[in-house]
């Protein structure tokens, strides 16, 4: 679609959706709200459900599922020290694939070593990017990466330094080929 045309269309649609939402807000239209500018709880709940259904329609179309918690059956253990946030995304069609994300206050090197040991103990064969390679990339000490395989499973793991907190963002991409 032509971008400008789409922009106009989408803006119009967005506004119209909003207006439709407002118009369908019975409390806003007919009854006085419990607080200024706010609909009654039942209507708010309906609006929330409508919004969530739109979100779910996107997830369904994109064939992904996103949650904050990493499932316990994720093939790799989740780092659990000083964790401030986790997230998880998986595909819902085709070959199984998922990415788990963890943010921790711990340093990348420590987190990376923890995962190396866990992978080794679980029988994965892994290959880490050498310090020389990371130096070439200008990421020495900032990013740690490894690839690991086990049977038909493959994992790409990275531990990236968050410059602001000196903590680590862990990204574990997992795939199982059929």
């Amino acid at each position: 679609m032509n971008f400008r045309a789409f922009l106009v269309l989408s803006a119009a649609a967005s506004v119209s959706l909003g207006l439709a939402g407002l118009a369908s807000n019975a409390a806003f239209a007919q009854n006085p709200p419990t607080q200024p500018g706010q609909s009654d709880p039942a209507t708010r709940e309906r609006n929330l459900q409508a919004a969530k259904s739109k979100y779910l329609s996107i997830m369904s179309t994109e064939r992904v599922n996103i949650t904050e918690r990493i499932p316990i059956n994720f093939p790799l253990p989740a780092y659990n020290s000083n964790v401030t946030r986790t997230s998880f995304i998986n595909t819902t069609k085709g070959s199984p694939t998922a990415t788990a994300g963890i943010i921790t206050k711990d340093a990348p090197e420590a987190v990376f070593k923890w995962y190396q040991e866990k992978l080794r103990n679980a029988g994965w064969s892994s290959m880490a990017a050498s310090p020389k390679l990371m130096e070439k990339l200008g990421k020495l000490g900032k990013v740690y990466m490894l690839d690991a395989t086990k049977d038909t499973q493959a994992v790409k793991l990275s531990c990236t330094l968050d410059p602001a907190t000196q903590g680590t963002t862990v990204s574990i991409t997992w795939v199982k080929n059929r």
């Binding site: 803006a11 929330l48 969530k52 990339l137």
Partner: protein, 564 residues
């Protein structure tokens, strides 16, 4: 009455007669011995001359080719692709020419079956015509006895025929004694196939060699070294896409040998016709005569079956496969009208030398439901390509399209084997991945290189290097052809192989008036995507094809607000 003396005189006379008879017999015997010896010497000299014809016909009678000719790379007895070529096609090399034309035709046929023929079919026709032209010229030269006479004399004159007389020698006797034959029909040629029928000889995926085109060694007993190798069959028409390919049989590891006249005569084209209108012969008869002071003495005929004793693998020696990596880009998607997504903002480049890196997209006005604007959070981009080798860029994650990935691998393995001339060497998928996964490709990608060449500098090993390094390593030929494009048409083999590839992050869209962001649904995530394209090349101009890899990231940002 006879006296004792008379009796003795009778014995003397008898002895004299006997001695004379014995002398005559001795002289007769001597002449017979001399005659037979001369005949044997003449035959030996003729055999030696004929064997030299069988040997020199392989190397010293040639058809010139231009250095730019499609078959110029076949003008060598070496498997080493970097070895200098002498621009001559000989009997020992003619099968290389025909087999290269065959490969070109096979590649065109396979590309055509996939709807990717392009100009490959036309090139294949030209290649086969070119091979036929060279072959016909060579056949004409080999069938012209005067071209062989010198080889005969070269050795026959060195052989002693003293029994004919002092100063006598065996020389060519021109005429009907000089003929050619097409022996060992349906035996193996000196072109070895890669692998076995079970792995389809590593020919292009989907293509099958015609039944009866190949054979194992036909020598009996089978020599130890030949194992279970397969070869193209000689003096058998091999049909490839309506074109006929020929091979001259040369049994594995046989030297030029003398053969019986009966066998030679039975296989002559005049005795037993071949479909091949102008066949290249592999056997020759030679007639010589021993001369004494200008007068004919003895004459003899010998029959020799030629053999270069030099096998090659079915190959296009000077060839390459190009691998091109497109500039990785990050695209930004929004969902203003769910579930339809729209790309907003210019795609941003990321690269092998800067990844992974944090990237932020452009704010999209109205980029979500009841959103005034949506701004994607900063996402870590390039983890899919950071520090990766070329092998990983092509084959690694995302690699969920396993059958399509296998197709790409099969095409590449097939083409890689077409670069190898050394018999017995097989480029397996593992070898290909090892080559593509070398530290060199990793460092070259980091250095910003996007074009790579897969080739064999020595006809035995595989290399994958950037153009400048390929040109330098194969300096005798690569610079002449590395600029050529594959003659087929491009097709996407792996179509949008993708997977989640980053940390899904929450974000806060700016809501429209009287709205607020819906909790837990405003999220942004990254997908790693990959397309792989295949453009087949027949090898006619040196290019066996092109692999193009497109890697990109998509940041999807959902913005949803609801009325207050």
């Amino acid at each position: 009455m006879k006296t004792k003396r008379d009796k003795r005189g009778s014995v003397t006379a008898f002895s004299a007669v006997l001695a004379l008879a014995l002398l005559v017999l001795g002289i007769g015997f001597l002449f017979i011995v001399l005659y037979m010896g001369a005949q044997r010497e003449t035959k030996n000299a003729t055999d030696a001359g004929a064997l030299n014809v069988g040997k020199k016909a392989l190397t010293d009678i040639s058809v010139p080719v231009m250095p730019t000719d499609v078959f110029a790379d076949c003008a060598s007895d070496s498997i080493d692709n970097n070895a200098l070529r002498d621009n001559k096609i000989t009997l020992g090399r003619i099968n290389r020419v025909w087999s290269k034309a065959m490969l070109i035709a096979i590649n065109a046929e396979a590309a055509g079956a996939d709807g990717q023929a392009g100009s490959g079919s036309g090139n294949a026709s030209q290649a086969v015509s070119g091979a036929e032209e060279i072959s016909n010229s060579l056949a004409a030269k080999l069938k012209t006895p005067s071209n062989l006479h010198g080889f005969f004399n070269e050795l026959s004159q060195q052989n002693s025929v003293r029994m004919i007389g002092v100063g006598s020698s065996t020389q060519v006797l021109p005429g009907a004694g000089w003929q050619t034959s097409l022996m060992d029909r349906e035996a193996e040629s000196n072109i070895e196939l890669t692998g076995s029928p079970s792995d389809n000889f590593y020919l292009p995926p989907g293509y099958s060699l015609p039944a009866g085109a190949s054979t194992q060694c036909t020598r009996s007993p089978k020599p130890d070294g030949v194992g279970n190798k397969y070869f193209l069959k000689g003096y058998v028409p091999i049909q490839i896409g309506g074109k006929t390919i020929w091979q001259v049989p040369f049994k594995w590891d046989n030297k030029p040998i003398l053969v019986a006249s009966s066998k030679f005569d039975a296989e002559k084209a005049t005795t037993k016709a071949l479909e091949w209108s102008n066949p290249v012969p592999n056997a020759f008869s030679a007639e010589g005569q021993a001369l004494k002071a200008g007068a004919p003495g003895e004459k003899a005929t010998s029959w020799v079956l030629s053999n270069p004793r030099k096998p090659f693998k079915l190959s296009a020696p000077h060839s390459f496969l190009k691998i091109k990596v497109d500039q990785p880009k990050c695209h930004w998607y929004f969902y203003p009208i769910p579930p339809i997504k729209v790309e907003f903002g210019a795609a941003q480049n990321y690269d092998f030398n800067s990844s992974p890196t944090g990237m932020t997209g452009t704010t999209m006005p109205g980029g979500g439901v009841l959103c005034s604007s949506v701004t994607p959070p900063s996402q870590m981009i390039g983890l899919d390509i950071a520090g990766r080798s070329l092998d990983e860029v092509i084959f690694s994650l995302p690699n969920l399209h396993t059958s399509e990935t296998k197709k790409v691998e099969d095409q590449m393995v097939s083409r890689a084997n077409q670069m190898i001339s050394k018999p017995g060497v097989v480029i397996t998928p593992a070898k290909l991945h090892s080559c593509l996964g070398s530290a060199v490709t990793r460092l070259a990608l980091i250095a910003g290189e996007k074009n790579f060449y897969l080739f064999s500098k020595d006809g035995e090993t595989l290399e994958c290097l950037p153009k400048i390094a390929a040109d330098a390593l194969a300096f005798t030929w690569m610079p002449l052809i590395s600029g050529k494009d594959a003659d087929g048409t491009e097709k996407k083999i792996i179509d949008d192989d993708y997977m989640p590839g980053g940390f899904p992050l929450p974000h806060a869209p700016v809501p429209l008036p009287f709205c607020s962001p819906t909790p837990l649904v405003n999220v942004s995530w990254v997908l790693w995507d990959k397309d792989v394209y295949w453009k087949p090349g027949t090898g006619y101009n040196g290019s066996l094809g092109e692999i193009r890899v497109k890697r990109w990231s998509e940041v999807h940002t959902v913005g949803v607000c609801n009325p207050l």
